[in-house]
Structure formats: structure tokens, C-alpha cells
């Protein structure tokens, strides 16, 4: 019975992981065919880094992730501090609103943002994608900073003000150092989510400005090329490492 249970669990995990492992292994296949193993090689990775289209998308993806993480961290940290100090009613209203982008399916968030840009006649492209990314990143920053604020002594900020600090000074020198671990986790989470996003980017950008996810999607519709395999494998590994790092941080903060 015990062995049976383990075999079952093993099968489920195999179902979850074999496709990814096969994809990664195939990306090292020297030949173009997926059916035949023609030797280990980095040839597709070489092609990947020499493809101007892919490199352009990589640049877009990374720059958006960095900028979105930066803006959403600032916006989110300030918001968390503000929301934390609010009275009960406005606080719960804010938290509900903050939950909307997280609970709505990505396709609805993406389409509603797209309609906003169409309505305001803003040409979709780099800037609109960045704005969308900040929008879905910020709630997660707030959720990472909030617990740290709850752990803080309530009176230190007031004490700083009583001792003559300006609100800005108290924010930077009293609150911020205490919540810093949460801020860093939030920033990392925002960066990862931004790298990871497909659906919202898909609806808020134009076909001319593509990040890696939307590029992979538009290519995959025509069938998977080996370079796309290599790109997906690479993204898998990078995202996996980032996710494990974020997970480790949140676990440490909890304990």
C-alpha cells in the first residue's frame, strides 16, 4: 500500500515535470528534429543570441521588468504605509480595490486596460505595457510590505514626529529601515511576475513591441522551432531560480 502510494505520487509528479524536462533536453539537441537525438550542442542557444528579434524582445522584457519593479515598489511601499495607518473603513475599501487585479482573470484585466488605452487614444506599445505591469505588480508589493508594518511598533513614527522629524524624514529613516525586508521581497516578486506575464502584456502592447512571452506565443502558433525551445528552456530555468529565491525569502520572513 505504501509503495503504491509512492508510485502514484511519482506518476503525478512525472506528469507535471516530464514535459518541462523533455523541453529542456531537446533544446540541447544538435539536430532540428525532435524525434532523433543527434548529439549535445549549444547550437540553438547560439542562434538565439544572434537573433536580433529575440534580443530586442529580451531587452524589452528586462527593461520593463526592472522599471515596473522599481515603480511598483515605490508606489506599493508608500501605499502599504498609508493603508496601514488608515481607519478601518477606508482601509478595507483599499484592500478590496487592491485585490481586484489579483482576483480578476488576466484576460479581463488585460482587456479592461486595453479598453482604457483605446478610450484615451493612447497608442499601445512600450509605455502602455509598462503601465499595465505596474498595475498588476503593485498589489503584490503591498501584500509583501503589509506584514512587516504589522510587526512594527505603532508609536515609533509618532515619536519621530514629536521629536521634530518631518513626515518624509520619518518615512525614510524610521519606517523604511524596518520594513526593508518586505520591500525587497516585494520588488523581487514584482520583477518575477513582470518577466512571467503573458496575457496582460498580450492585450496592452502592439505587435511591434513584443516581450519574450508574446514573441513565443506568436511564433508557437505557427509550430515550435528549436530556437523557441531553447528560449523557453532558458526562461524556465531563470524563472524557477527567481521563484525559489522569492519563496525562500517569504518563508524566512514568516518564521
Amino acid at each position: 500500500m505504501k509503495a503504491l502510494k509512492r508510485i502514484y505520487l511519482g506518476l503525478i509528479l512525472a506528469f507535471l515535470y516530464i514535459p518541462i524536462l523533455v523541453l529542456i533536453i531537446q533544446s540541447f539537441n544538435a539536430g532540428e528534429s525532435r524525434a532523433k537525438w543527434e548529439g549535445f550542442s549549444f547550437v540553438w542557444y547560439g542562434k538565439l543570441f544572434n537573433d536580433p528579434n529575440i534580443m530586442h524582445s529580451l531587452w524589452i522584457t528586462l527593461s520593463i521588468a526592472v522599471l515596473a519593479a522599481l515603480f511598483s515598489t515605490i508606489l506599493g511601499t508608500l501605499a502599504a504605509i498609508g493603508i496601514h495607518a488608515m481607519r478601518k473603513r477606508p482601509q478595507s475599501l483599499m484592500l478590496t480595490l487592491n485585490n481586484i487585479p489579483m482576483t480578476m482573470p488576466d484576460i479581463v484585466t488585460g482587456i479592461s486596460l486595453m479598453l482604457l488605452f483605446i478610450f484615451t487614444r493612447v497608442e499601445r506599445g512600450y509605455v502602455t505595457m509598462l503601465l499595465a505591469h505596474i498595475t498588476f505588480d503593485t498589489p503584490y508589493v503591498i501584500l509583501s510590505v503589509m506584514p512587516k508594518l504589522k510587526q512594527m511598533n505603532k508609536n515609533t513614527y509618532e515619536a519621530a514626529l514629536d521629536l521634530g522629524a518631518t513626515p518624509m524624514y520619518a518615512l525614510l529613516h524610521v519606517i523604511l529601515p524596518e520594513v526593508m525586508p518586505g520591500v525587497i521581497t516585494g520588488a523581487m516578486l514584482a520583477f518575477t511576475l513582470s518577466l512571467d506575464d503573458f496575457t496582460i502584456s498580450y492585450f496592452t502592447t502592439s505587435p511591434l513591441v513584443q516581450n519574450l512571452s508574446t514573441l513565443i506565443y506568436s511564433q508557437a502558433r505557427k509550430g515550435i522551432k528549436p530556437t523557441m525551445n531553447a528560449l523557453s528552456a532558458l526562461m524556465f530555468v531563470v524563472l524557477l531560480v527567481l521563484l525559489l529565491l522569492v519563496n525562500k525569502r517569504t518563508d524566512e520572513e514568516k518564521s
Binding site: R6, L75, A85, P105, S112, S213, A220, F236, L244
Partner: protein
């Protein structure tokens, strides 16, 4: 895109809204004689209004208007009958001429077409099937991992958490490359002697892709609840003479309901709204509700965008309703749902 008529008052509303917001802020600061901590949230309040509340309102606005900005319910009528708008657009006199020539509405491509509602029903069915299969596969897995005697459980559960955060698109592509005509499975099938099969571009492939993507969302909440459950309860049941099956049926299962409900919502919602899983694994032959919405917005015809908004609004309502259901069944969030 330029044909899309934007009411000029739109800019006025936004401008006035911004000024009112600043004025309220100034008044509030003045009333409180100084800067209070809640003000740190004001940039985000503005952001939420512009990028969360306003877009949601816009979905509603576009759902109830035609491209010229007039109020209409046609978009919803079009949901029941996707040729409604086309039939309305045609000149009645012209239509009469065609009809008197012996052509039927069917010949003209204007007959009642229920593709929208059919797609929704099919989508709900696919999501339902996916949820049931995930529950049947996932519950035993969660139960095994939550077993106190199974020391590896807490480590293994991480293997279920990581895919939850992983890009669905990439995972779908991994599945796609596995199922392809010359993918690994077909190579094995040929080697075994069964021969190559068409595994991709059918409903089954989409279903497998959905289960593959969403299974972790079922396992994790159930594991969470089972893990936190007081194991003494089932021990007590055993001591009092319950056999294994009855202990499970009468004690463990009822106590794990919050996890099950949380899992069901977390699988059902993305399964109903997905569009790229069906696009990539169904090859355009399997259309789900998400694909339908996507197609409406890819269309160059602006009327279609209003219809697409109406469909998005219906999806929003569907999601909110199922979330409400979740809150009712699991008010304390014991399932540990990320949603």
C-alpha cells in the same frame, strides 16, 4: 482603431476627476492640519482609480453602447445570436428583395447563430471536466503528502507550489512539443509499434493541457487543509472503532471541504478564462470562451469590440459569482487560496 469613437466628455470627466481628487486631498490635509500617514497611499489611490476602477467601468460602458456611443442592449442580444448585429445592419428593403428572390436567411449567412452561447457552454463543460479530473487526481496526492508518516511530504509539496507560479504559456508550449507529430510521445508510440497518432489539435489535447496547467492549484489548498487538520481526530475515530474508509469518509473528508472548495475555484476560474491553451493545443479547432473574447478584440470591426466587452463583462460576473461562492464555503480562507 481611429474609427473608434471616443466621446469628448471622456477627457473632461478624467480631467475634472483629477482636479477633484487633488482638491479633496488638499482639503483633507488642511482639515487635519498636517501630513498624516494615510496620505502616503494617495498616489496609489489615484493609480487604482485610473488603472483599475476606470477600466472596469469602461468594460461596462462599452458593453452597453454601440460604436457611436449610444446606449444599446444589442451587444447582449448578440451574445444569444451572433448574427443579430449583422441582420440589423442590413437595409430591410434590400433584405426583402433577397428574400423575394427565394434566398433564405441561411443563404445570406444571417440566420440565428448561437455560436457565442454554445462556446460559453462548451467552455463551462471543459472547465467542469478539468476541475473534476483535477480533484480526482489531486485529492489522493494531497492526502498522501499530508500523511504524518510520510516524511518527504513537506519537501514534495514545494514541487507542486513552483508550477503554480510558473508561466502557463511556457508550460503549455512544453506540453505542445511533447504531443507534436514528431514529439517524444509519438516517437515512443512508433517504437513500441503502435504507430504515430494525431495527438495535437483536438479537444483531448486541450483538456490534457488544462489539467497539466491547473492540477497544482487543486493539490496545494487540499494539502494545506489536511496538513493543518488535527490528526488526533482521525486517531480518535480509529480508536472508537471506525475502519479506515469510514474515518476518511466521516472525519477527514468533511474537514477538508474548505480546501476542496478553494481548489475547485482555483482550477475552475483559470480554466474558464484561458485562451492560449486552447489556441496552442487545439490549433484553432477548439474554441473556448477566452478565445472568443480574444477573437472579438483582434477583429477590425469596431462593433465586435463592444460585443467583446459584453462578453468580458459576463465573464467578470461569472468570476465574481464563483468568488462569492468561495467566500461562503471557506470564510476564513483556510484553503490558503492565493486567489
Amino acid at each position: 482603431m481611429t474609427d473608434f469613437q471616443v466621446p469628448s466628455w471622456g477627457y473632461w470627466v478624467m480631467g475634472v476627476g483629477f482636479i477633484v481628487f487633488i482638491a479633496l486631498l488638499v482639503a483633507y490635509i488642511h482639515k487635519n492640519r498636517g501630513f498624516k500617514r494615510p496620505f502616503f497611499a494617495s498616489p496609489y489611490v489615484l493609480w487604482l482609480i485610473v488603472f483599475t476602477v476606470l477600466p472596469c467601468l469602461l468594460v461596462c460602458y462599452f458593453s452597453f453602447t454601440d460604436p457611436a456611443g449610444n446606449f444599446t442592449l444589442d451587444n447582449f442580444k448578440n451574445f444569444w445570436d451572433s448574427n443579430y448585429n449583422a441582420r440589423k445592419a442590413i437595409d430591410p428593403a434590400e433584405l426583402d428583395t433577397y428574400l423575394s428572390m427565394g434566398l433564405t436567411l441561411n443563404d445570406l449567412g444571417l440566420a440565428r447563430n448561437s455560436i457565442n452561447i454554445d462556446t460559453l457552454v462548451f467552455s463551462l463543460w471543459m472547465a467542469f471536466l478539468c476541475t473534476v479530473i483535477c480533484l480526482l487526481l489531486g485529492y489522493p496526492a494531497a492526502h498522501i503528502m499530508a500523511d504524518r508518516d510520510f516524511k518527504l511530504g513537506p519537501t514534495l509539496v514545494i514541487l507542486f507550489i513552483v508550477p503554480m507560479w510558473m508561466n502557463f504559456l511556457l508550460r503549455t508550449i512544453a506540453m505542445m512539443s511533447l504531443l507534436e507529430d514528431n514529439g517524444l510521445i509519438n516517437t515512443i508510440l512508433e517504437w513500441v509499434g503502435i504507430g504515430r497518432q494525431k495527438l495535437l489539435n483536438n479537444t483531448a489535447a486541450v483538456q490534457v493541457g488544462m489539467i497539466y496547467n491547473f492540477l497544482p492549484f487543486m493539490v496545494f489548498p487540499i494539502y494545506n487543509v489536511l496538513n493543518k487538520m488535527d490528526y488526533k481526530l482521525s486517531e480518535a475515530a480509529m480508536d472508537l472503532g471506525c475502519d479506515k474508509w469510514h474515518t476518511f469518509y466521516k472525519v477527514t473528508l468533511p474537514l477538508s471541504v474548505p480546501g476542496i472548495v478553494s481548489g475547485i475555484t482555483m482550477v475552475f476560474m483559470p480554466a474558464v478564462t484561458t485562451f492560449y491553451i486552447s489556441r496552442l493545443l487545439g490549433g484553432g479547432k477548439v474554441q473556448l470562451f477566452g478565445d472568443l473574447i480574444e477573437a472579438k478584440f483582434l477583429s477590425t470591426s469596431v462593433t465586435e469590440w463592444n460585443v467583446g466587452s459584453a462578453l468580458s463583462l459576463l465573464m467578470m460576473i461569472l468570476i465574481l459569482a464563483s468568488l462569492g461562492l468561495l467566500r461562503k464555503a471557506d470564510p476564513k480562507g483556510e484553503g490558503g487560496g492565493i486567489v
